[in-house]
């Protein structure tokens, strides 16, 4: 039996307005090279000037994972040639990163939690992009992204499965979203992940040879890439082979990893302190300003939701994972005064729809106000669960406000017992055989058989009859 040893390097694009060492905008999607200044182009004579906002964001992240903050932080040059690396070096941090050792807690499927140590997080600049398909036989270079601030978060190799890796990645994602230091959009590359994977016989405490899977860009691919790589390494060892230390790429189409370069081909990056940048000394005042500006983090919010809204630990965990979902839920719960109902609706209908469409809660068709109106109508018995779902679907289709939809669709719940009685009588009259069967059946079976009659009544009432009243009246009439 083998055990996987996994460590992640997560690159997070910080959402500063301007780049880490220049004043250019960091917006995504502009025309190529329109957001590249002389500094981003690496023109002769230009110099980097650090963006204080990037430091603030990095420090906030450090505080959020309970990390040591480097009082003195040094920028180094990582030297290598690549067409989309304008200066021939990347400004990064080597010896003295801004964020030192910290930790995060992940929840496992069996309901337990596990602490994962974060080795460090450091600031660096992103490179540009090589564009291979725009010009025939040539490669274009787009430097809009060059100089965008990145926070590289390095975990200890304490993850033991692809699922744990994804859980860790989701916690990191959740934290950066709560801190609002990145949009965390993996599809657009605002969050990318390198996975270091090795395997060893279970119980062994020596590490196997690791491979690094570069630039995996979705939660799902992280899980698949790691599993694929674990299996590949197991096969090698089973065949009495040897895993080679190398960099690999994950191909989601073929669901396989393939070699990019081996350790022997790896660059010697010749790191040395960047003489254009002085060591950055963060004083206590700066750090405490960042600390004061920290929002409530996922763990704290989870605890609060459990006690404030009377929901379960599990439900709270699901609801707080995404800050915007958590805010949405809180608004629904506060406005309607119904924590549990709000949790059920958000976790059921709302998240189900978002998962299905891949949409975002911030532009979700049903506003928190509308959902709380809907819950209010359930509470006052205007709607039952069936008609409520009809209203929700209408809200999704932007057909108007809750009461207008109820009105136009004639969904007001039938609570008039006289009217329900009339329908019940009709149903009993129309189904003499079923009535006879029911009456002949022993008590313990009657409960189940009642469902048929309820269904018929609901159908005749077009779903509007109050189910409790229907049950009551039916039981009385059938037994009588």
């Amino acid at each position: 039996m083998y055990e996987a040893v996994i460590g992640l390097e997560v690159h997070v694009q910080l959402s500063t307005d301007s780049k880490i060492f220049s004043g250019s905008s960091t917006n995504f999607g502009a025309e190529p090279n329109t957001q590249a200044s002389l500094i981003d182009l690496g023109m002769p004579g230009v110099l980097p000037v650090p963006n204080a906002k990037a430091f603030e964001m990095a420090v906030k992240f450090g505080l959020a994972i309970d990390a040591e903050i480097g009082q003195e932080s040094i920028f180094d040059r990582k030297n290598y040639f690549y067409p989309d690396l304008p200066k021939g070096y990347q400004i990064s941090q080597f010896d003295k990163p801004i964020v030192g050792p910290g930790r995060v807690t992940i929840s496992l499927e069996d309901g337990t939690t596990k602490t994962i140590n974060v080795t460090r997080a450091h600031l660096e600049e992103d490179a540009g992009k090589s564009v291979h398909d725009a010009f025939d036989g040539m490669t274009g270079v787009d430097l809009n992204r060059a100089g965008t601030p990145l926070l590289e978060i390095v975990s200890e190799p304490e993850l033991r499965s692809a699922k744990e890796a994804v859980a860790y990645l989701k916690v990191i994602h959740s934290i950066i979203r709560y801190l609002d230091i990145s949009d965390g959009n993996m599809a657009e590359g605002s969050m990318r992940c390198d996975c270091n994977v090795s395997i060893r016989p279970k119980g062994s405490d020596t590490l196997g040879t690791r491979t690094e899977i570069k630039n995996v860009n979705s939660f799902r691919f992280v899980e698949k890439a790691i599993n694929t790589e674990i299996n590949r390494q197991i096969e090698i060892l089973e065949d009495a082979g040897r895993v080679i230390q190398e960099t690999r790429l994950y191909d989601p189409d073929k669901d396989e990893t393939r070699s990019m370069r081996s350790k022997e081909e790896a660059n010697d990056y010749r790191y040395f302190p960047d003489p254009d940048l002085l060591p950055v000394v963060l004083d206590e005042a700066f750090i405490s300003t960042c600390r004061d500006a920290l929002p409530e983090l996922p763990e704290a919010r989870k605890t609060r939701y459990v006690s404030e809204y009377g929901i379960t630990d599990y439900d709270a965990g699901v609801l707080v994972a995404d800050r915007d979902v958590a805010d949405y839920f809180a608004e629904v719960a506060d406005t309607s005064g119904e924590g549990k109902l709000a949790a059920n609706w958000v976790m059921g209908s709302v998240l189900a729809d978002l998962n299905q469409t891949g949409g975002s809660i911030t532009d979700f068709a049903v506003t928190a106000k509308q959902l709380s109106d809907l819950i209010a109508r359930i509470k006052d018995n205007t709607l039952n669960s069936k008609t409520a779902k009809t209203v929700f679907d209408a809200l999704l289709a932007s057909e108007g406000e809750v009461d207008a939809i109820i009105e136009s669709k004639g969904l007001v719940q039938m609570t008039d017992t006289g009217a329900i009685e009339a329908i019940v009588d009709e149903v009993i009259a129309e189904n003499p055989d079923q009535v006879a069967n029911y009456r002949a059946a022993p008590d313990e079976k009657q409960g189940k058989m009642l469902g048929f009659f309820v269904g018929q009544v609901m159908k005749k009432s077009q779903g509007k009859a109050n189910p409790q009243a229907v049950n009551q009246i039916l039981s009385a009439k059938l037994s009588g």
Partner: protein
């Protein structure tokens, strides 16, 4: 009245203020002289006559309208590693021989703001690497005192242009002695300010932790005027100091009475040439006569300065020069087959041999497994050198020494022996390693050739250096000696 081009920057300033000369007269006089002498001296890479004449006209208009600064209309020329918007900025290299900068360096824009008229761009050793100006893609600069001799480097064009009176003031840069050594070889005054005093923004980098922009002129007073314009904090350079800029011209006349001048014994050991020692003794005699006292000090680690410098500077250069890859600007090899071919041939064909040598040395020094033995060690030595200087300057106002081991050597004399060339900077390099200000000023001629003495001051102590040099210039005529040939 003497010729316009014989006047110093300060004298020209006076003439403009008195309205005895116009900027157009001054500018055209210098341009005419450049055009007649540059074919011999090769001090200028680019002469910007049209732009200069236009600025001169604008300056005269500003002066007559009363909207001029104290320096409006005075000429200057820039070393060709200061980026100048719209003008070739070659850095003395083939790889930038087609590079028209899209912006002005901080130093250039400061000069423009002050109203100076730029005459053109000055020759230099490629990427400021050299001590003889023989490493320029545009050919060597000749020493106006003897055209068979080098003017020193890397700011050889700046020094030769001032010495030959092609410009009264020139910008220059100094990484290991590149302002002071050519100033000494050409009989001019040169000042390398404290690291961080002058913004490096727009100054094409050689070794970022050592590079510093400065000036070459005829007198300490001229430099005091020039430094006021170019010194000061610039938010575009993170290493630029926030220290306030004093009016250096206001302290030139202060007495040297009671000032203590330290004489590092390592600069006056047996290896010092006797004629050079005698010249230095004459300067010291003058300083003492002006009321200064002298005392021996020791800079224990100064002998290690050259080896440490030739690790740190090439290491930084190897990284700084990576951006010259043929991708975005500068020389690009024909028909590259792939990126590696593009890099190898663009750089192989674009860089000269001294630049390649230093890139190789620096790459080696930073390589995995060698970093600790070379780069880290060199940085430790650098700290020891800085401590030595700070200790000595704790009780001395200035340190004194020769600028160079000898007078200007003959073209080609040291090109085959890089180490002999590197030892040219033996007295100057330590000042850069310590980040301190250093100036070279005219000493007595030796066999008809100029020599220089060097003053090193405390951090941001440029005023003290200029004050002492000015006092010496007030009672001596070493700075008034002219090359006869030109």
């Amino acid at each position: 009245m003497s010729q316009i081009t014989d006047l110093s920057f300060s004298e020209l300033k006076q003439s403009l203020n008195d309205r005895t000369l116009s900027s157009v007269e001054i500018t055209s006089a210098f341009l005419d002289r450049i055009e007649s002498l540059n074919p011999t001296l090769n001090a200028f890479i680019t002469i910007t006559r049209d732009e200069a004449m236009q600025s001169a006209k604008d300056a005269d208009a500003a002066i007559s309208q009363g909207s001029a600064t104290p320096y409006t209309g005075l000429p200057i020329a820039h070393k060709d590693l200061f980026c100048t918007d719209g003008t070739l900025t070659s850095c003395g290299s083939k790889i930038l021989s087609n590079f028209v900068a899209p912006y002005d360096a901080h130093v250039v824009s400061q000069c423009k703001t002050a109203g100076l008229v730029s005459l053109g761009k000055l020759n230099m050793d490629e990427f400021a690497m050299g001590s003889s100006n023989e490493n320029s893609y545009y050919g060597p600069v000749k020493n106006p005192w003897d055209t068979t001799r080098v003017p020193g480097g890397s700011s050889g064009g700046s020094a030769a242009a001032v010495a030959a009176r092609l410009t009264p003031l020139a910008t220059a840069t100094d990484t290991g002695g590149s302002i002071r050594q050519p100033a000494a070889f050409t009989g001019t005054s040169g000042l390398k300010p404290t690291y961080g005093r002058v913004s490096r923004f727009g100054m094409i980098a050689y070794a970022s932790s050592l590079d510093q922009g400065g000036l070459i002129a005829h007198t300490a007073q001229d430099i005091a005027h020039g430094l006021r314009m170019i010194a000061g904090h610039d938010s575009r350079d993170s290493t630029s100091a926030r220290e306030p800029v004093p009016d250096y011209t206001q302290t030139l006349d202060e007495s040297l009475q009671g000032k203590v001048i330290g004489i590092p014994k390592q600069f006056f050991d047996d290896r010092l040439d006797s004629a050079m020692r005698q010249a230095m003794d004459e300067v010291l005699e003058v300083l003492r006569s002006l009321g200064a006292t002298t005392t021996e000090v020791s800079l224990d680690h100064v002998a290690e300065a050259i080896p440490a410098y030739y690790v740190i500077a090439p290491a930084e250069a190897s990284s700084n020069l990576s951006r010259f890859d043929g991708v975005r600007f500068g020389y690009r090899a024909d028909s590259p087959t792939d990126p590696m071919d593009l890099y190898e041939r663009s750089r192989g064909e674009g860089f000269g041999s001294e630049v390649k040598r230093r890139i190789l040395i620096g790459t080696y020094a930073l390589s995995e497994g060698y970093y600790d033995a070379y780069y880290k060690k060199a940085q430790q030595i650098r700290r020891l050198i800085r401590d030595d200087f700070n200790r000595a300057l704790g009780h001395c106002d200035l340190l004194f020494g020769p600028t160079t081991p000898s007078t200007a050597f003959v073209l080609g004399e040291k090109t085959a022996d890089p180490v002999a060339m590197y030892l040219e900077d033996i007295y100057t390099v330590a000042t850069n390693m310590a980040g301190l200000p250093g100036g070279s000023f005219q000493a007595p001629l030796i066999n008809g050739l100029p020599t220089g003495y060097q003053l090193t001051g405390r951090a941001f102590g440029e005023s003290m250096i200029l004050n002492a040099a000015h006092q010496v210039q007030m009672v001596t005529d070493w700075h008034l000696q002219r090359p006869e040939g030109v």
